[in-house]
Amino acid sequence: MLKTWIWMAILLGINWGGFIALLIRTMRKEGARAKEKQ
């Protein structure tokens, strides 16, 4: 089962990790833009 967990972490890490990292990046950028407008 350890092998399963390791592969799960790698494959979900690449895909979900990529998605979440970009979400956070966009959130920060849009937050900064909103502050600038204010």
Binding site: M1, L11, T26
Partner: protein
């Protein structure tokens, strides 16, 4: 373009674009393909496909749409010249031909949501018979087809801001929450570990098999919405300052995230609740509708809290299908609007056209299968036309003038290399393989144009469409007007 026909926020655009990409294929095809083609190996190949085929195409579509401010027909005309208008029309035609039967498929999801809500999936119910009874009932299929396209038309009629953006901002986050709930329930079932192993641990012997790679690239091509003309159309409604590369990468990863969540919701459920391994394997190989509407519907009653999970799962399917259907219908509506027709008239025409031209798919299941086969593979040709457009305009020009100036994540020269040399090879490999498959799967009937899954039915229908579009090319180029000047 009126201010109402623009996405108000980047989040609104992202929600609509991710909703466009995440469709039924993420839920009922990706888990099957993963199970069939080596688990982790398939997921790795699928991730490669995202970077080598889907992302370059999505970025190109968004770049052309944002630059020309026109749907695919006008976009190809203005970027490449009048002689190439028919290529944009091919993109729109293929998308619409898929829309005609996708509305029927969305209707199936709505029907199954209502069945789940009414508690129809009880222990001992023959879900195979239930599906067959519904599938062969033309009136019910027509009713749900009508319901799905009417609801979609109502949203499109409201416009981008009050319709598409508002609905996507609710449906897309909800879809992800529903998939998370279904996945958590599935992986916490006793015996789910076997399913997780099946899904994630790579079967390395499959790595060297061409079919694994071909299926992974095909899945990515169909699933991300690349070359459908959908992002092309949505990008017309974005600001000229909108970041192309980061938004497209988010759409790609968002699509894969949803697919993996669906895999986590389905594969462990099948392995934990099937009576034996043989039944689990049979369920995974029972086709899209077999897996979802028969096998899963049969297993939900055996699941603790299954009476809650079943409606959540089928509502997730409705939202996934519906947000994709909205994007498809918008392609047709935008095409008519480019010829100066009002949104109201365009929506009415596209909705009525989709309903009537979807009737054969709603009434004759074999017709739907045929259309899915012919126009699914045709999306690869659409991708090739986008590649040709980028090459003709200059891949480096597209990268440096259209993508990078407003991008947070700049694309390097490798982007131009991929779309110029790698993507055309992928097109040749995939299209050639599907046409070859049509022959080897039907050695005695591949030349028959009226059979569902033959190579000849593809060739004949593609040729017919291409001839028609070439004949009306000049008229189409005149028909689409110039986009109005806008203040950004």
């Amino acid at each position: 373009m009126s201010q109402k026909d623009k996405f108000v926020s980047r989040w609104g655009f992202l929600a609509a674009a991710i909703g466009m990409a995440v469709g039924t294929g993420n839920i009922w095809r990706f888990p099957r393909m993963t199970a069939q083609y080596g688990g982790g190996v398939f997921i790795l190949a699928y991730t490669c496909a995202l970077f080598l085929w889907s992302l370059p195409l999505l970025m190109s579509e968004m770049a052309i749409g944002r630059k020309t401010r026109l749907g695919p027909i006008g976009g190809f005309r203005d970027l490449l010249g009048k002689n190439f208008t028919w290529m944009g029309a091919w993109l729109v035609s293929v998308c619409m031909l898929i829309t005609f039967y996708y509305s029927v498929v969305t209707g199936w999801c709505i029907k199954y949501f209502t069945l789940a809500m009414s508690g129809a999936f009880k222990p001992g119910v023959d879900t195979g018979a239930l599906w067959n009874a519904f599938h062969n009932n033309s009136w019910q299929n027509l009713f749900f087809h009508f319901l799905s396209i009417s609801l979609c038309g109502f949203i499109i009629y409201k416009g981008i801001q009050s319709g598409v953006e508002r609905v996507s901002k609710v449906m897309v986050p909800a879809l992800f929450v529903f998939l998370v709930v279904a996945a958590v329930r599935a992986v916490t079932l006793a015996g789910a570990g076997q399913g997780l192993t099946y899904m994630f641990v790579p079967i390395w012997s499959k790595l060297g098999k061409p079919e694994t790679w071909l299926q992974a690239f095909t899945q990515s091509a169909w699933s991300t919405g690349a070359a459908w003309g959908l992002l092309f159309t949505y990008s017309v409604y974005t600001s000229r300052k909108e970041d192309i590369s980061q938004n497209c990468i988010m759409v790609g990863f968002g699509d894969q995230t949803a697919a993996l969540l669906a895999g986590l919701a389905i594969i462990p459920t099948i392995f934990a609740l099937s009576p034996d391994l043989e039944s689990a394997h049979a369920a995974m190989e029972s086709g899209n509708t077999g897996l979802t509407f028969i096998s899963l519907a049969h297993l939900f009653p055996k699941m603790p809290a299954g009476f809650i999970v079943a409606p959540i799962f089928f509502l997730a399917m409705v939202f996934a299908a519906f947000t994709s259907l909205i994007a498809m219908v918008e392609v047709g509506v935008k095409t008519l609007m480019d010829a100066n027709w009002s949104r109201k008239t365009s929506t009415l025409l596209v909705v009525a056209g989709t309903f009537f031209l979807g009737i054969p798919s709603a009434v004759f299941p074999s017709f739907l299968d045929n259309q899915d086969w012919v126009w699914g593979v045709a999306l690869l040709v659409s991708g090739f036309f986008i590649i040709l457009a980028v090459r003709r305009h200059g891949a480096e020009r597209v990268r440096t003038e259209l993508i990078n100036p407003t991008a947070d994540i700049k694309m390097g020269r490798w982007w131009s290399f991929i779309i110029t040399y790698i993507s055309p090879l992928i097109f040749l490999g995939l299209t050639g393989w599907w046409l070859y498959k049509g022959i080897i799967d039907n050695p005695k009937s591949w030349w028959k144009p009226f059979s569902s899954f033959t190579t000849m039915t593809i060739i004949v229908q593609w040729a017919l469409l291409m001839v028609v579009l070439l004949l009306v090319n000049k008229a189409l180029a005149k028909w689409v007007k110039r986009p109005p000047e806008e203040v950004d």
